[in-house]
């Protein structure tokens, strides 16, 4: 293979889309030339972007039709404003009608954009409803999380609504960022500068270990593509019904009992039965997946 490895973490939203989809298959909706910029950022004298920080469009992946949205984490932390949120919502509404093989959400966001906080919060709840409507129409939604902003705030909730969550260890998934918790509750609650602790509490391996991420991959755009192809091939739709939500309720309740005082991922590795909990952060994703699968087959 002569293809150069592309770091998903470092790639821009547009570069991620290009690396994920079949070459030449991408058509953008509401492209930059339409200049759907945020009037709310402009009103506060903050720089705007022609795509308002999210790329949305249609493409094929491994020959299958998908709709795809990619948030640009470098622009305002991928935060959701009125236009940004409306583009994602519109894409999900399109999915409910067009029934593509899947929607891919390339999440890279700290949540709501404060310059237009109310519009962003409302937009996220509209995304949540549109996402569940697409699922109810039989369209699976896959989240990909591996950017510098991770998936936090409302986008952390949106990510957990998805049918599959594909993550790298570098990607992080949560609700409140470590900085927010430290600011309000103090450094003793969460030291946001302790990077290894931050990843042990929010990173891809923890999320995979808890069963929240469905696939863990290395920080490599082609690995994300391979995982998306696998999800497209193997995912079986299971619409949320009373039985499945009662099962989820029981599982979430049990998790709180299984990890009664846990505040560090190391304790999760230990409880799960991984041989060397301290070594987990350094494992390549293949090796981590292998150890996790071995535990699953033991049970």
């Amino acid at each position: 293979m002569s293809a150069k490895r592309v770091s998903y973490f470092e790639a821009s939203a547009r570069a991620r889309v290009a690396a994920l989809v079949d070459p030449g298959s991408f058509t953008e909706f509401c492209p930059p030339a339409q200049r759907r910029t945020s009037p709310h950022l402009a009103q506060l004298d903050a720089p705007v972007a022609f795509d308002d920080g999210v790329v949305v469009g249609a493409a094929t992946v491994d020959g299958k039709p998908v709709l795809i949205a990619a948030q640009e984490g470098q622009f305002n932390g991928g935060a959701v404003g009125e236009v940004h949120g409306a583009k994602i919502r519109g894409l999900l509404e399109r999915a409910a009608r067009e029934r593509p093989a899947a929607v891919l959400l390339l999440v890279d966001s700290g949540g709501v954009r404060l310059h237009e906080a109310n519009a962003g919060l409302i937009a996220i709840s509209e995304i949540m409803r549109a996402l569940m409507a697409a699922q109810a129409a039989g369209v699976p939604v896959f989240a990909l999380v591996g950017g510098a902003c991770g998936a936090f705030g409302g986008m952390g909730i949106v990510t957990r609504l998805c049918d599959e969550v594909i993550m790298s260890e570098e990607g992080r998934l949560g609700l409140s960022g470590p900085e927010v918790i430290e600011t309000v509750k103090g450094v003793g609650e969460f030291d946001s500068r302790d990077r290894s602790l931050v990843w042990r509490v929010t990173g891809g391996k923890l999320r995979r270990g808890l069963g929240e991420a469905t696939r863990l991959v290395d920080d490599d755009a082609s690995a994300f593509r391979a995982a998306a192809v696998a999800a497209l091939t193997h995912h079986r739709n299971a619409p949320a019904d009373l039985a499945s939500l009662k099962a989820a309720q029981a599982a979430l309740t049990e998790r709180r009992a299984t990890h009664p005082d846990t505040r560090d991922g190391l304790e999760v590795w230990r409880t799960l039965g991984l041989a060397q909990p301290e070594a987990v952060p350094m494992l390549a994703s293949d090796e981590f997946n292998r150890q996790l699968d071995a535990l699953a087959t033991e049970v």
């Binding site: 009103q43 009125e82 236009v83 409302i122 609504l161 009373l242 939500l245």
Partner: protein, 246 residues
Amino acid sequence: MSDPSLFDALFGAGNHTVVIDGHFVAGPARLGDTPVAVIGSWDAAAVDGDLALAIAGEILRVVEADAGATPRPIVFVADTQGQALSRREELLGLNGAFAHVARCVDLARRSGHPTVALIHGEAVSGGFLAFGMLADRVVALPGAQVRVMDLRAMSRVTKIEFDRLQTLAQHSPVFAPGADNYWRMGAVHALWHDAGADWRAPLAMALAEAVDAAGHDGRAALGAERGGRTLAAAVAREVANEVAGG
């Protein structure tokens, strides 16, 4: 402070047996002849995993109990200062617990339960997103506060002077706290005034509107109509309907 007399105003004294258990409230009530389920958060709850699961579990119980019968309306009452801020809750995936609550609300909707959310105290970001904002009708009671962040904190984070934010907030609803701002943007359908009034009639009307709205998210269109959110509906429509390659 949440005030238990709220339920007298909503249903009439003697027509409800809502139990307040810390920050969680739930119980049956009657609105005229109609049985109603009340579920929600109390006393500016910081919503943690336990409270999220209590709310979700109660929704599932109501849906299961009404399977095969007439689905009862669900009245969500929301008073939340936001999500609990805790390393442990983050580790256990509080966002996933909130997503689970959202799925349960959606299941209730799809099972035919009309849903109305009443903000009776504060409604702040994450705690509000989880269930209150997903109801088919959202109503703010007198004195209700709705916000993501207060202006001083917002000024610190965005590095925009507080005075400037305050001045802009006079005419723009998009970032400043306030139930009226959410009304203008279409996310709060009605503002009820007159503290201490009898709300049986307006609640019955909100439930009837929820029946009409069921399954359709008309908030962006409402925000455009009220002039507080002029782009969301148009941009979403453009992306939803644009002809590929056009």
